[in-house]
Amino acid sequence: MTSTAIVAQHIRRTSLARRHPAILMGSLGVLAVVLSFYGLSVGATEVPVADVLRALVGDTSTQASRIVIDFQLPRVLLCWLVGIALAVSGAVMQGVIRNPLAAPDIIGVTKGAGFAGMLLLLAIPTLPVVAVVPAAFVGGLLAAAMVYVFAYRRGATPVRIALVGIAVSAAFEAGIRFLLVRNPLDVSAALIWLTGSLFGRSMTSVLQILPWVLVLVPLIIVWARKLDVLGLGDDLASGLGEPVERTRRVLLFFAVALAAAAVAVSGTIGFVGLIAPHMARRVFGGKHIASIPAAALFGVLLMLIADMLGRGLAPPLEIPAGLVTAVVGGPYFLYLLVKTGK
């Protein structure tokens, strides 16, 4: 090892984040809260922060505060919930599949949910987007189940899950394109949903994803050490008394359900599930008890920033958040590929 590498490693090891993870984690949380308040006040019409606060404590007398409660609040809450769901889902998948490039997009969930959602939107064009949620959720779960079944041969090894996931995703992607080409006139609503946007969502959407996040994320954090043990490889993990196949199946189900819920309410927002867990590991190390909550926070920050950029770059035109994360995430993904390829 070269001396610069040793120095770099030393810095990384003794960095603030590793010594005082709670402080940095807290700062990330504060930053997310600050950004959320900012997110509540910017929009189609600017609302002064004082009005935002007034609206939050229940004063809905002014028009400004109605805007905050009806339009901005669900949107910011969805940024939190979708960010947490995607990031934690990605962190679990990367842990279970033991590949830093694993993400909800790769295991078929995103495309499966997208296909099911589009099918419904095109079949019944008058349907409100909210009604798509259950269909997309089921589509995501079915796609992931398909991946697992095809990958299963006396247990589903991580490599096989990843490869089958890519194949199944490609098949659903083809299905989505087929639908787009077949119905060129009716696709605009479906397309906006597909790109991933938080525009025009109400509290109904918030309530559709909230239970999944509230139940599954704490369960996953309780199981964090099991994820660490799975990282030692199947044989050693079994040797340490972990029922590998069962644990993997349960954790994957949790991750898939979270991702499916996120895609269902927000459409396909790519890369958050890939990037947030990776950032968390770099800053907080590989132990899941720290890296999963950290990934959740990074996920929230990414979503808040993407949504804000989408609204602020070219008003009054809204750029879907999914497009922003894709523009930022693509290059980051390439950087990851180059780095892990070495």
């Binding site: 043990v229 030692l232 079994s238 040797g239 340490l240 008394g241 972990e242 029922p243």
Partner: protein
């Protein structure tokens, strides 16, 4: 004997690796499984550790079928060090050894005093205590292998199985690892069963040797009995001379290259 494979058939998918294999691991001894590549020795070890369910017969641990025993319970009785080890990204020695306590812990409980003591003890007997804060990926091959053995020891089991613990190590590190295992057997009474590649290392360290060839047991016994020219020829397909080790007196097999055998026979005939 606490750990036994009784007439097991072992297979990956539909390829049968071993048929009607019986192995009784002697308690409190160092046993070595040896054989050429593809002889099924690693497969047999995996079956003994409950990593591979036999398609016929059964592996018995303390009188109970190991497949019918929950994996967590097995992990409190028997530790296995697989051949291929995945070191988690930038993990410290101490954190890695703590994984050995996994079978004794539940998700929400904080580590107990017993857990801490077991980890400290494992670090001490493997002489890795002073490395505890170092990152595992910065260690030498021998140090790293000692840390993995410390992980197994922290499990607190009397039975330790190891799959080729010395492969890819320089000779000094090979001795470092095997000396440690010998010491654990002598001082702590651990039952050690391992797969080794090198018959001279096996002869030097084993109390009991299982010699395997294409999935079946050719012979077993103390190294003095099993390492003969005939068995080496039959199992490994090489001619050799077996001579006593000049210092330890254990059998040493010296493989002969083509042509040397005739010269050796000639020397015997004329001498």
């Amino acid at each position: 004997m606490r750990l036994q494979a009784q007439g097991v058939e072992l297979a990956y998918d539909r390829t049968v690796i071993a048929k009607d294999l019986t192995l009784n691991i002697p308690d409190g001894k160092v046993s070595v499984l040896i054989g050429p590549n593809g002889s099924g020795k690693s497969t047999a070890l995996r079956a003994l550790a409950r990593l591979l369910p036999p398609t016929k017969g059964s592996v018995v641990l303390d009188g109970k079928s190991i497949q019918d025993t929950p994996t967590k319970e097995v992990a409190r009785l028997l530790a296995i060090l697989p051949q291929v080890l995945v070191t988690p990204e930038s993990i410290s020695v101490e954190d890695l050894v703590w994984f050995g306590r996994h079978p004794h812990r539940t998700s929400l409980k904080v580590p107990s005093e017993a857990d801490k003591e077991a980890v400290e003890w494992a670090l001490k007997v493997t002489s890795t205590a002073e490395l505890r804060h170092q990152h595992v990926d910065q260690l030498s091959g021998g140090q790293r292998q000692r840390v993995w053995i410390a992980l197994c020891l922290a499990q607190g089991t009397d039975l330790i199985l190891l799959d080729e613990p010395t492969t890819y190590l320089d000779v000094a590190y090979q001795l470092e690892v095997l000396d440690l295992l010998h010491q654990l057997n002598q001082e702590q009474g651990k039952t050690v069963a391992m797969v080794l590649h090198d018959f001279n290392m096996a002869a030097e360290y084993a109390d009991h040797v299982f010699v395997m060839k294409s999935g079946s047991l050719v012979t077993q016994g103390p190294p003095e009995d099993v390492f003969t020219c005939d068995i080496i020829r039959d199992v490994f397909g090489v001619e050799s001379k077996v001579v006593p080790h000049p210092v330890s007196g254990k059998p040493m097999c010296i493989p002969l290259r083509a042509g040397l055998l005739e010269r050796a026979n000639l020397a015997v005939a004329t001498g």
